[in-house]
Every structure is written in C-alpha cells, then in structure tokens.
C-alpha cells in the first residue's frame, strides 16, 4: 500500500531560482497534488503609482521584471499613449519592435540554459548563456543598460540605432543563428535530453484552453494565439505566423521556444530592412485622463497593463497581469501524476517569473 506524504518544495530550491513554494502531496514518488503559495517577493510596485508621476513611473514599470524589462516599460507607455491619443512616430515603433525581439531572444536563451541546467547538462547551459551574452552586449551598446534599458518614454523612445549599428547587430545575429542551429541539434535530438523531456507533463489543447494558459506554454499545446498579431508597435507591417506544436509535452515547449528564437531573428531582419527615418518621440502634452487595457506578447506570454488616469500627473491605478500568473493553473495541472524528479523541469517549462507575478 502506498503512503501519502507532503514534501515542501521551495521557495528556496537549488534547481529553481524562482521563489515559489509548492506543497507536493506524494504517493510514493508520484505527485498527486501540488498546492502553491506565492507572495514571497512582493514589492508593492503598483502602489508606487501614487507617489511617482506618470512619466517617472516608466522607470518603475520596467523594474517589474529583469528579463522582460523592455516590454514592461513599453506596455505601460503604450497604455498611457493610448489614453493621451499620442501617435508614436513610425521609427520609434520599429525600434521598439527590434528591442522587443531582442528581449525575446535573450529570454528564450536564458530559459534554454536554465532547462539544460535543470536536467543536469551543465555545458549546454553554458553554451546557451554564452550566446545570450552577445545580446546583452548589443543592448548595452544601443540602450546603455544590460538589464534595465530606460529607453522607453511616453510618446516614443529615447535612443536611436543608426544604420551602421543595425548592420553590425545583424552580423552578430547571423553568428547567433549559426551557433543556435548547432545547439538546436543537441536540444532536440540528444538521447539524454529526449529522455528527460518527451511525454513529460503533457497539457492537452483543451486543458490549455480551459485553464487559460498563455504564451509558448499554450502554443506548444496547439493553440495558435500570439498577441503580436494584435498590431501594436511595428508588428502589423512584419510578416510572421504564431509558432505552435500539437504535442503539449516539455519537448514541445522546448521546440516552440527554439523556433521562436529563429522567428525573432527573422523579425529583426525584416524590421531592420524596413525601418523608416524620422522622429524618435512625439511630445506628451498635458496629463492623461481615461483608462486603457494594453495587451502585449512577452517572451513568457500575454501581459496585460491596465492604466486608469484622472487628469492629474498621478495615475489612479496601474494593474499588471503577468503571463506567469496565467500559466500557474496549467502548471499545477501538469504536475498531477508526474514523478517527483520531474517537478523542477515541469515548473521550469512554463518559464516562471515569480518576481514579476508578485511585483
């Protein structure tokens, strides 16, 4: 007869740098149920909106997360721009798109490294992060920051990339593409990697739909939804299709993310070829009044920014719904019935970002 026991997992755990706590109800080695508790790194960033005016809050918004910091800043700015009826100049839109895609690439490379680390393939982890380093260098070259970029402002962007810089970046991306092609073989064809990822934590299409999963986690279960198709920034002028897989296991999530990196490189090439000359930012005159929902596609999935303004320089409310929060129910579902040893990998495959979930 099997014995039930409860194993606490996290918030500090050697394989998972994210502060999430789970109570795992086990029957022998099998997980029967997982009960989450979050709230260990709450920082009160939404409350800060009462103290910082709407221009200064850009700097707070981009500090919600260290990986998608660009998109947090952009999502907030776009929401305020919509309230204030500001038309962002086309060049700024293209620059934002390029930076967004660079963020996506570096986030996915980071994730690939963490995945390799989680199944114990240390040197594969190093290879992924080595590539990511080049992207961080490009960020530093173009924005002045490696993690926090501070290039967004209400109305546009603060820094420009000239043709020479773009050409240089494209050359680096060519190199990254070559390196990644080699690494992809290991990620997708290696015997040991396949053994750890195939048929682990399957989420069916229906489950993904019912539990409200977002991002690559949802797309790897076969739902072709991508918020970039909603047409913010310069995405309406670029040619791309959401990347999906029908399998829904950990392997599919890895596969989808790798293909998304290639897609992002392609999007950057398209954007660099089409980028028009012009202004970097439109003037933001007066104070915002009204409310707006902005939805953007972050590397981890859909993020929602709700901004409510009252006509003064301080906003009434800012609410952020981050992709990890939406993915938690799906993750708990995949945990049911898995082996204890697979728990870290399963949690990792939703690409959790707990500090942005708790803000």
């Amino acid at each position: 007869m099997s014995v039930r026991s409860v194993v606490p997992f996290g918030p500090q755990h050697p394989v998972l740098p994210e502060p999430i706590h789970l109570d795992l109800v086990l029957e022998d080695e099998k997980v029967i149920e997982a009960i989450p508790s979050i709230g260990f790194v709450h920082r009160g960033l939404e409350k800060l909106v009462e103290k910082k005016d709407f221009q200064e809050y850009v700097y707070v918004a981009e500090r919600i997360c260290g990986i998608c910091s660009f998109m947090h800043g952009m999502g907030y700015c776009s929401a305020v721009e919509n309230i204030m009826d500001i038309t962002v100049p086309p060049r700024a839109n293209y620059l934002r798109t390029i930076w967004c895609e660079m963020s996506r690439i570096h986030s996915h490379l980071l994730w690939l490294g963490l995945l390799a680390d989680a199944f114990g393939f240390e040197s594969l982890f190093m290879q992924s992060w080595r590539m990511r380093e080049k992207i961080l260098d490009m960020f530093e070259m173009s924005t002045g920051g490696r993690v926090i970029f501070s290039v967004n402002k209400v109305g546009g962007v603060r820094k420009d990339m000239d043709q020479e810089m773009l050409r240089e970046f494209l050359k680096v991306f060519d190199g990254i593409e070559q390196d990644l092609k080699v690494l992809t073989k290991t990620f997708l064809e290696d015997y040991a990697v396949n053994g750890r990822l195939r048929d682990v934590g399957v989420l069916t299409r229906q489950q993904a739909h019912d539990l409200g999963a977002v991002g690559p986690f949802m797309r790897s279960s076969g739902i072709a939804l991508d918020n970039r198709k909603l047409g913010y920034a310069a995405y309406p002028e670029l040619d791309f299709e959401p990347i999906t897989s029908d399998v829904g296991d950990c392997y599919a999530r890895c596969d989808v993310r790798i293909r998304e990196i290639f897609q992002s490189i392609d999007l950057i090439r398209q954007a660099a070829a089409k980028i028009p000359e012009g202004e970097l930012a439109a003037a933001a005159k007066g104070f915002p009044q009204g409310e707006h929902f902005m939805r953007v596609e972050q590397p981890r999935g859909e993020a929602i920014y709700y901004v409510k303004a009252n006509g003064t320089k301080f906003l009434d409310r800012v609410r952020v719904r981050t992709p990890t929060f939406a993915n938690l129910p799906g993750m708990l579902e995949t945990l049911k019935g898995c082996q204890l040893a697979d728990v870290p990998i399963l949690i990792l495959t939703i690409d959790p970002c707990i500090s942005c979930t708790e803000r």
Partner: protein
C-alpha cells in the same frame, strides 16, 4: 551520432579562446552609451533644480543659495532622466559603474565663487 554533435562543440571549445575575460587583469571595456554614473560639470550649472525635481528616486539635492549640487550615489538608479532634463546640459552619464562601498556616500559639489581679483589674475594670465 547525436552524441557526436555536442562532442564537436566541446572539442571546438577546447581549442578556442576562453569566452570569459580574465577580470580584473583585463577590465571591461564600456560602450559609449553605457549608463555608469552621473557626472556634473559644476561650472555650467545654474542651480535651477530641474534635475532634482525630475529624479524618480530623489537622489539629487540642489541648494541654490549655497550653490551646492549633491547626489546620493547609492540612491541613483542610473536612469538618465536628470541628464535629459537639464537645460544647461551640464550633466552626463559616463562609465564606469559606481564601485561597491561600505557606506552610502553623498557627494557634494560646490560651485567655486570666482573673486574679482582672481578673475583679473586669470585674465592677466590669459593675456600673457
């Protein structure tokens, strides 16, 4: 065969240069845009106080009467908003990043008063 794929990467790494720098013997080269720390050219400052008003963390204090501009180095988040809003363009963000310290220092810069005599001396020197 699939095992061979990664073996090739390993072999390549074995015979290529290290991917990391030998820090601190070989220090990091900063890019021109790197936001390291805020520097002020105190001579050009008019003590309008705009930078301190705009700073999201309130790291800058401007005392007009004493012609003093001070910054809490560890309060500054290197956002560059002050640099952008200064009307005299006397602030800049330059590398490197601030160094780690045991205390949280406040650095003050006072604009030196130029005495009339000093001024004329300077003029004299310039003429020579």
């Amino acid at each position: 065969m699939n095992m061979m794929n990664f073996t090739r990467i390993v072999l390549k790494n074995l015979f290529s240069k290290p991917a990391t720098r030998n820090y601190p013997a070989q220090p990091k080269e900063f890019f021109a845009r790197t936001r390291g720390h805020v520097e002020i050219e105190i001579q050009a400052c008019i003590f309008c106080g705009l930078c301190s008003k705009k700073c999201p963390t309130g790291a800058i204090t401007v005392e007009r009467g004493e012609k003093k501009w001070s910054i809490e180095r560890f309060g500054c988040i290197q956002c560059g908003y002050c640099v952008e809003s200064c009307p005299k363009k006397c602030l800049c963000m330059c590398p490197p990043y601030p160094q780690p310290e045991a205390q949280k220092p406040t650095e003050a810069y006072v604009q030196p008063e130029l005495e009339p005599i000093e001024k004329s001396e300077k003029l004299d020197r310039a003429e020579q």
